[in-house]
């Protein structure tokens, strides 16, 4: 088989062993890699109902047939596991040299189960893997630990690691690489910490095992050229995703004060032009010629890598209008190994709970010093409040009781990322149906939505969300490469199918790929149902705030979502996906997609609709 290695590195930390195992060829062809492969492995090898922070959970690092190849922005991998934040399927992608090295080492994925007795790290050198002690790294922040590892394994080694937040099982701890790249929002860093795995170091020197290497090189260089020639290229290189601050403000979707508003009076203090004034350099993921990691000097003189999501969530959403200070909070999150989006949602939750008298402490909107301290308290679970917030907003609200669930801006337990949806039903649907909880990665429909009929709840919105979920969440997360060349600079999608054929020799058609994407989505939904032991469509509803509390500022003041119309939109979505009115895939859908192996389990748990 070309294009894949057909092998997993299977690591059991309880037993202290690592071995190379083959996996079925059919999985590669029909689930491809990254998210698809990870979901298939979890279904097969993780015991149903496993404790996300227990030894039975599987932590998976997966690449795909396009990862690491000489084509735009291909240095990404997917990290997946059962999520300790949501209790369902969790994953994220991360740009790292580790992606390229993993492919060169000859594996399509690393699967880690068990729990080491003492802090450990996994070191992979081509086909040789060792589990080594890492007590000297435990407790270090991600930057310090990575620098130590680079001294030992070389500047170019692939390194994935956790910080103190992952070690302390903060439920939104992420995996970090290269001092600022972060992935696995739904607590993938906590899963790694629960296994006492501080770091994974990979050095691969083998080849990619491609069907037609010359064709890949030819297509890849044409794609690089098209990226560079695109209209938006020079501005993208100036601001990257930071241009979205102005854009979101203009369109009244910039989250402010815990998503109470969609405009922020201080937006000029945190926008892309302000970033340009503070910018010192630019960083990116491997193989990328449109690097978007804008590195600024923060208010404490240190370097911090910014993008739109972290700036909106740690800026406008907590009422902070000074980008140099936002950059401090962002840097701390990266060093501790915390997801900036959930962190921003959690800090905003705390500020609102404080305002409403649900917690005793005073936390004022925009109070940089207090938020700065609070990040440490959360990451280290230092104080009672820090410990509460380290559980994420849904659990924190359950513990606080009263009305506090109103302030927990989340879906399925994952905090909403940085687009306010009071006047964006399509984007609300994207959050509601994202396969990991409220994340924009799968269907960033808002741009299309504001350009078409923003206030409509018509079925075209459900259709568009599914189209985007297929390409972004289904395909890019399984290829595994960065979606930005396509979504930001309009690189022709046909490149990807041609590259895939050249890499694998499999004559995939778009129909095949869409079916593959639908298969991955239905399998992820099946995993959720299996792990939660049931399903209810309320799990696919956006936060109540967007229905109940209209925004009060800006040109769209008074806007809010209509719950009845939204339910209709969700019905249309289920119908198009071939899922029943509960949000459970129909038996016929599962069978058509080749997921017959899930039928018995799901039927037993929820009774499948034909």
């Amino acid at each position: 088989m070309k294009g894949w290695h057909g092998r997993l590195l299977w690591v059991d930390l309880t037993r202290g062993e690592a071995r190379s195992v083959e996996y079925p060829k059919e999985w590669a062809l029909n689930f491809m890699g990254g998210r698809g492969l990870a979901a298939r492995i979890l279904w097969e090898h993780m015991p149903a109902g496993a404790d996300p922070l227990g030894p039975d959970n599987l932590l998976i690092f997966a690449v795909g047939p396009l990862t690491g190849l000489p084509l735009p922005s291909s240095g990404k991998l997917v990290v997946a596991a059962k999520s300790p934040l949501t209790g369902g399927y969790g994953d994220g992608n991360i740009g790292s040299m580790a992606a390229v090295h993993l492919r060169r080492a000859g594996f399509d994925a690393i699967v880690v189960r068990g729990r080491a007795e003492k802090p450990s790290m996994l070191v992979v050198r081509d086909q040789k893997a060792d589990i080594l002690p890492a007590e000297h790294l435990w407790g270090l922040d991600t930057w310090a630990a990575e620098r130590r590892l680079r001294e030992d394994y070389g500047r170019n080694a692939g390194v994935l690691l956790i910080g103190p937040a992952g070690e302390r099982l903060v439920r939104f701890a992420t995996v970090i690489s290269q001092e600022g790249r972060s992935g696995g929002r739904p607590g993938m860093g906590a899963v790694m910490g629960s296994k006492r795995l501080k770091a994974v170091v990979i050095v691969g020197t083998g080849d990619f095992n491609l069907h037609d290497q010359r064709e890949v090189a030819k297509l890849g260089s044409a794609a690089y050229r098209d990226v560079k020639r695109s209209k938006g290229y020079s501005f993208w290189m100036r601001q990257g995703t930071m241009m979205t601050v102005d854009w979101a403000q203009e369109n009244s979707v910039l989250p402010a004060y815990n998503f109470r508003e969609g405009v922020f009076e201080g937006f000029k203090g945190i926008d892309g032009y302000r970033m340009e004034e503070l910018k010192v350099t630019q960083r990116g993921c491997p193989n990328c010629n449109m690097t978007c990691g804008n590195v600024v000097r923060d208010a404490e003189g240190e370097l911090s890598e910014l993008d739109y999501e972290n700036v909106a969530m740690l800026g406008s959403n907590i009422g902070l209008d000074d980008l140099a200070k936002v950059a401090v909070l962002n840097r701390l999150a990266d060093m501790y190994g915390l997801d900036t989006i959930s962190l921003g949602g959690t800090l905003a939750f705390a500020a609102e709970a404080s305002e409403e008298g649900l917690i005793d402490e005073r936390i004022e909107w925009g109070d940089f010093d207090r938020f700065r301290d609070l990040i440490r308290e959360v990451a280290l679970r230092e104080t009672e409040l820090g410990n509460l917030l380290a559980e994420g907003t849904r659990r924190a609200a359950e513990k606080l009781g009263g009305d506090s669930i109103r302030y927990a801006m989340q879906v399925k337990g994952l905090e909403v990322s940085a687009y306010d949806c009071h006047a964006a039903p399509g984007m609300a649907l994207a959050y509601a149906t994202s396969p990991i909880g409220a994340h924009h990665k799968d269907a960033w429909v808002i741009s299309w939505e504001v350009a078409t009929d923003r206030f409509s709840y018509g079925p075209e919105k459900a259709r568009r969300v599914i189209e985007l979920q297929r390409v972004r969440g289904g395909l890019f997360e399984s290829f595994v490469t960065c979606r930005f060349p396509w979504v930001e600079l309009g690189l022709d999608l046909d490149y990807y199918i041609k590259l895939l054929r050249a890499a694998t020799g499999v004559e995939y058609t778009w129909d095949d790929l869409y079916a593959l994407a639908d298969r991955v989505y239905a399998l992820v939904r099946a995993l959720w149902i299996r792990e939660l032991g049931g399903w209810d469509r309320s799990l696919d509803m956006p936060p109540a705030r967007w229905f109940r509390e209209p925004i009060s500022k800006g040109p769209l003041a008074g806007s809010r979502l209509d719950i009845e119309k939204f339910r209709g939109l969700l019905d249309a979505y289920y119908e198009l996906r071939g899922w029943d009115e509960r949000g459970v895939p129909r038996r016929s859908t599962l069978e058509k997609l080749g997921l017959g192996f899930t039928v018995e389990t799901l039927d037993r748990l929820v009774g499948l609709t034909p």
């Binding site: 601001q239 741009s447 985007l468 390409v471 046909d494 869409y514 079916a515 593959l516 639908d518 080749g594």
Partner: protein, 94 residues
Amino acid sequence: MGRVRVRYLGYLAEYAGGREVEVEVGESGARLIEVVRLPPDVSPDDLVFLVNGRPAKPGDRVRPGDTVSVMPHISGGAPAPSYIPVAAPARATA
């Protein structure tokens, strides 16, 4: 006579020569598309227009005192290959 303020976002500002430009229009106003300055190879279909912060179309009328915003699609705007029915048959293994 009066002025319409036009705000350009993203790379459009580089082309228009500024982030904010004022344009003279008659009392009866003008069509939105007449007051914006776009790169020749950019189709209005690929852009988002607002008037006073509310969604607008290129053919809409703008009047003195209005603010027009024009911006590229950000993220996820490019079209995907044509739509196919959901739940297509499983792929026979190659």
